[in-house]
């Protein structure tokens, strides 16, 4: 079933991609193929391969349980929040929270969670910002 659904989604993607690809227009003629030919070729090929999945699907893969989904969802949310606040609160604080959170997700107890969070963020900040001269955001709230 998974492969059939995947095949269906890929087929839809192929159709959308090909249709969009065939509509590119350039104002001047530079080469015989133009911007549309290659995308149309790719879209057609993808559509054909997706049919194989629809008609000859593999056995069902193993999907993780609801618990995994929740942990992955929370982790992704954390990664996105990290991107949103990075420049505002600065590298050290945001990384400390992110690394601590990830290590707790992977099963660290409180001691290791705090240790890894502080250790990794502070060490990497000084290694890259100070030693290797790769500027990292200090944080707008600190006037950085």
């Amino acid at each position: 079933m998974t492969d059939r659904i995947t095949g269906m989604l890929i087929l839809l993607l192929a159709i959308a991609y090909t249709v969009a690809g065939s509509r590119f227009e350039s104002d001047f003629l530079t080469d015989p193929l133009g911007p549309t030919a290659f995308p149309v070729m790719l879209g057609t090929a993808l559509g054909l391969f997706s049919l194989y999945l629809l008609f000859r699907p593999d056995p069902e893969p193993e999907w993780p349980g609801v618990r995994s989904w929740r942990r992955q969802g929370m982790t992704l949310t954390a990664l996105i929040i990290y991107g949103l606040v990075l420049e505002f609160v600065g590298f050290i604080i945001s990384s400390m929270v992110l690394v601590g959170f990830l290590s707790q997700m992977l099963g660290a107890d409180r001691r290791f969670m705090i240790g890894t969070g502080i250790g990794a963020s502070v060490l990497l900040y000084f290694l890259f910002n100070n030693l290797l001269g790769l500027p990292l955001p200090a944080g707008e709230i600190f006037g950085g």
Binding site: T2, T6, I10, Y17, A20, G21, F24, S26, F28, T30, D31, P32, L33, G34, P35, F38, P39, L42, G43, A45, L46, F49, S50, Y52, L53, R56, D58, P61, P64, S68, R71, Q72, T75, L76, L79, I80, Y82, G83, L84, F91, L98, V99, G100, L102, S103, Q104, L106, G107, A108, F112, M113, T116, G117, A120, S121, L124, F128, L132, L134, L136
Partner: protein
């Protein structure tokens, strides 16, 4: 002789203190990455690519660092195979078959030493092969016009499709998805924006480095959250860190056979180290098994280790000479070259000899460093294997974010990386391989440009794709690569036709 001059120049580059230091550091980091279960050579190199790029290293130094990591990871994979019975990376799966039984019999130290020497022999022979074959291939590559290059890319993708992965259709889907990702951005010839959804940020296209880190590293974190393996438990004591002369002599034949087979597998575009170690082990088993294989036969350990390290060197041949990577990890190295505005291919050896020859010379150096690291110092790596996942993975994730952010100081890139990572995770779940996606992202631009250039030359006549003997030969190879594996499989399935799976 230009060859010797190139070599001499290469060693001049490789022996500068900076480059030598980078090779030593890379060898150490690579062995560690290879040894840690879950982090393979492609991931390891992918994590370090943004760093090498943003540190502003000269191109040859950046490449030397990453190539040392690459070789090191191939050495390191065997350590966890032998000690934990978990392969450190994909090519090390075969090492496990004989290495772990040996460790259980109390011969862990001998297994580590034999495999280290085999790795050294395989990698050194492959580097010698690379030094001779790459310049030869370059002379041949001058015959390639745009049409031939386009067909060569087609050949690379058809070889990947049939040599790797279980489901050919899925491998092709992966390649096409990668090629499609490469069409995002301004069209190179007409400057028409394609698939940018009006986002200015996408006009420059998807940065291959972001694609690589997202696909490999971020998706790996998501996989880890499912299994949440704890750190491994080392049960075996390493009693000695050397191999006796008798043991090595016993394995010499296996090492040499493994090296040759591995090198050939490596040179084939798209096949890489996994096939190298698989083929070496299978053939060694056919050749010298007297009922001892699977129970800790030293030769069954030496052959795949020589094979996978030799394949790693072989995979650099098409990457340097033709710009078509031979494996996932060389694809990542290719991404670095492209980001540094260096075009690999026939002109690399004449226009940027310091890059081509400097890299080759530093591989010889890296091998010697790796032998030293992996014989007397192997206990350090064995101890590092027990670092728990919850310290390792968060730190690796942070390094990825740091590297990607540092490229352009843009938060948009971080979101793109996370997005690509989720995409990569979903592909992995439905067993669509990631390496062809990366190859597609990397080669898509060149493939399209060469096709359009060829058709411009012929004013739109598709016949140019069959216009030379070389082009026709390449098409024949494409045809063979698509049909031969199925024929062989069909013959094997016939009763009595073969011994079946290993």
């Amino acid at each position: 002789m230009e060859f010797l001059a190139g070599f001499a120049h290469g060693f001049e580059v490789a022996l500068t203190p900076l480059n030598l230091g980078l090779a030593v550091f890379g060898a150490f980091a690579g062995t560690l990455v290879g040894a840690l279960p879950g982090l393979g050579p492609a991931n390891g190199v992918a994590i370090l690519v943004p760093l090498a790029f943003t540190l502003g290293l000269p191109p040859e130094s950046a490449l030397i660092l990453l190539a040392a990591v690459y070789y090191g990871a191939m050495y390191g994979g065997r350590i966890s195979s032998i000690m934990l019975n978990i392969p450190g990376d994909e090519p090390a799966v075969m090492t496990l078959l004989e290495g772990n039984p040996m460790a259980r019999q109390g011969k862990a130290g001998a297994a580590l030493a034999i495999s280290a020497v085999s790795s050294f022999i395989g990698a050194t022979l492959a580097t010698i092969g690379l030094s001779f074959l790459a310049p030869l291939l370059v002379k041949f590559a001058i015959l390639f016009g745009p049409a031939e290059y386009f067909i060569l890319f087609v050949l690379a993708f058809s070889l990947i499709g049939t040599l790797t992965g279980k489901n050919v259709a899925k491998t092709f889907i992966a390649s096409v998805l990668g090629l499609m990702l490469a069409t995002i951005g301004l069209d190179p010839a007409t400057n028409v924006p394609r698939y940018t959804f009006g986002q200015m940020k996408l006009f420059e296209g998807l940065d291959p480095i972001i694609a690589i880190v997202g696909l490999f590293a971020i998706s790996e974190v998501l996989v880890f959250l499912e299994t949440s393996r704890a750190g491994g438990q080392v049960k075996f004591k390493v009693e000695r860190t050397y191999a006796t002369f008798k043991e090595l002599w016993f394995c010499t034949g296996a090492m040499l056979r493994g090296s040759v087979i591995g090198f050939i597998c490596g040179v084939l575009p798209g096949a890489g180290a996994s096939l190298g170690s698989f083929a070496s082990y299978t053939l060694e088993k056919r050749y010298s098994d007297r009922g001892t294989f699977g129970k800790g036969d030293e030769r069954g350990l030496a052959a795949p280790e020589a094979g996978n390290n030799s394949a790693a060197g072989g995979a650099l041949v098409p990457m340097l000479a033709l710009g078509v990577p031979g494996s996932g990890t060389t694809a990542v190295l290719l991404a670095l070259l492209i980001s540094l505005n260096i075009t690999p291919g026939p002109l690399l050896f004449t226009e940027r000899p310091e890059v081509a020859w400097g890299l080759i010379a530093s591989l010889y150096m890296a091998n010697i460093v790796l032998l030293v690291l992996n014989l007397p110092l192997v206990n350090i790596f064995v101890r590092l294997l027990t670092v728990p996942t919850y310290i390792l993975m968060p730190t690796v994730t942070l390094i990825c974010f740091l590297g990607v952010y540092a490229i352009s100081h843009s938060v948009f890139d971080i979101f793109m990386m996370v997005g690509v990572g989720v995409f990569g995770y979903l592909l992995r779940k439905v067993h669509i391989p990631l390496v062809p996606v990366i190859l597609g992202v990397l080669l898509g631009h060149h493939m399209e440009v060469n096709l359009r250039r060829a058709l411009s030359l012929s004013s739109g006549d598709w016949g140019i794709l069959f216009g030379s003997n070389l082009a026709i030969t390449l098409w024949v190879l494409v045809f063979l690569s698509l049909t031969l594996p199925f024929l062989i499989r069909a013959i094997r399935r016939r009763p009595g036709g073969g011994k079946g799976e290993v």
